[in-house]
């Protein structure tokens, strides 16, 4: 069974308005500022696996007519749960994907001709080579003494895990120690340079 959560929140206009009713009515109608609508949805199956995930950010551009804003607000209010557009075909969702969602948002307004601009999102980047260099730099900041202690405790190997991609990389002792020594040497040199300047 899909767990579906939908929560709608009233907009927070920055203008002072006299009544709550007015505020609701004019949620997307103030032309003095840029108006946006943001929706995010993640649908999980019974086992807690991601079934569908998607969202939209709609922005009213300057000189947007009031009729268009009214139509847009009507379209947004009548949308089903945003994740339903990305559910597998045959499930209860609309399954229209990004094109279907865009069409639903621009119903009665019309889309500009052409396919629009698209890009393929991806998780990352945590390329292994770059990751390795960043990890060595991070370990070097610990200092030689701490690196030595960590290596001794782990049998001469230091394993580091990237918190973003969860990839673990193991380093031989000498590689990390060398970097720590270089960092420490650099620090000492810059300190000595600073002291020299102070004396002068």
């Amino acid at each position: 069974m899909e767990r579906e959560k939908e929560r709608k929140k009233k907009p927070r206009p920055r203008e002072k308005v006299s009544s709550k009713k007015t505020r609701e009515k004019n949620s997307l109608l103030f032309l003095s500022q840029v108006n946006c609508a943001l929706a995010l949805g993640v649908s999980l199956d019974k086992a807690g696996r991601v079934q569908a995930a998607g969202g939209f950010l709609v922005q009213a551009l300057p000189l947007c007519s009031e009729e268009t804003l009214v139509a847009l607000e009507r379209n947004i209010s009548s949308l089903p749960a945003v994740s339903s557009f990305f559910l597998p075909e045959g499930d209860s969702g609309d399954s229209g994907g990004v094109a279907g969602l865009t069409a639903a948002l621009l119903a009665g307004i019309g889309a500009a001709p052409g396919p629009g601009f698209s890009l393929s999102p991806r998780y990352g980047p945590c390329e292994k080579e770059g990751l390795r260099q960043r990890m060595v730099r991070a370990a070097a900041l610990l200092g030689e003494a701490e690196v030595t202690a960590a290596l001794e405790a782990n049998g001469g190997v230091m394993e580091m895990r990237c918190e973003f991609c969860q990839e673990a990389v193991a380093f031989e002792g000498e590689e990390v120690l060398e970097a720590a020594r270089r960092a420490q040497g650099g620090k000492k040199a810059s300190r000595a340079e600073g002291e020299e300047r102070g004396e002068q």
Binding site: E6, R49, I76, G110, S118, P121
Partner: protein
């Protein structure tokens, strides 16, 4: 007997490498995941009055939750934050990155997302096993998992330029509401937020 039957059975047909790889992928992911790929689509309305940015990040969020081994509520929170980061950074200037940090007081702890204009996005949570009880209406309680606290958003550009940092209060912990609140108060872009999982 079984061995005999096995040896008598016709061997499975050999597949070209590409077809075999495709079959392996289909086994690894649910069927629907292989049918469509993730996409961010930007469309203008006919009269260029409205800009629509729509994202399908099913596979991306699925990968993130697998990498981090998140519990359902943490999955929803991380997924929403990844999608929000994507929408806020996609199609921005070259080398521009958006870093979203929820410093929440709830069981989830901190939640961090880094998104680039090219569509690359990554994230992490302090406590991937955070999974508070469902709300009374049977929905995942992302708001409680995140808790109160501060939302920090840093917009930076590769190779120089001062980074723009905005700080706002976490209003509900439901991610979309908080990002909408940030856009309204910090970037002064009036936004309506909606979250679902």
């Amino acid at each position: 007997m079984t061995a005999g039957a096995r040896s008598g059975a016709a061997p499975p047909p050999m597949l070209p490498f590409k077809a075999a790889a495709s079959r392996r992928r289909r086994r690894a992911f649910p069927l629907f995941a292989s049918l469509r790929s993730d996409e961010v689509l930007r469309t203008l309305s006919e009269a260029s009055e409205i800009s629509v940015l729509a994202v399908d990040g099913t596979r991306l969020v699925s990968e993130a939750t697998k990498r981090h081994g998140t519990a359902p509520t943490a999955s929803a929170a991380l997924g929403r934050a990844l999608l929000g980061g994507l929408l806020m950074s996609a199609f921005k200037g070259e080398g521009e990155a958006t870093q979203i940090t929820f410093k929440g007081t709830g069981p989830l702890g901190g939640l961090q997302v880094v998104a680039e204009a090219t569509g690359a996005v990554k994230g992490r949570v302090d406590n991937p096993s955070a999974d508070p009880p469902l709300r009374n209406d049977g929905k995942l309680d992302v708001g409680t998992a995140v808790g109160g606290g501060v939302l920090a958003i840093v917009r930076s550009r590769e190779g120089g330029g001062e980074a723009y940092t905005g700080l706002t209060q976490i209003v509900s912990g439901e991610i979309a509401d908080d990002l909408a609140h940030y856009l309204a108060t910090s970037e002064q872009v009036r936004t309506r937020g909606e979250s679902g999982s």
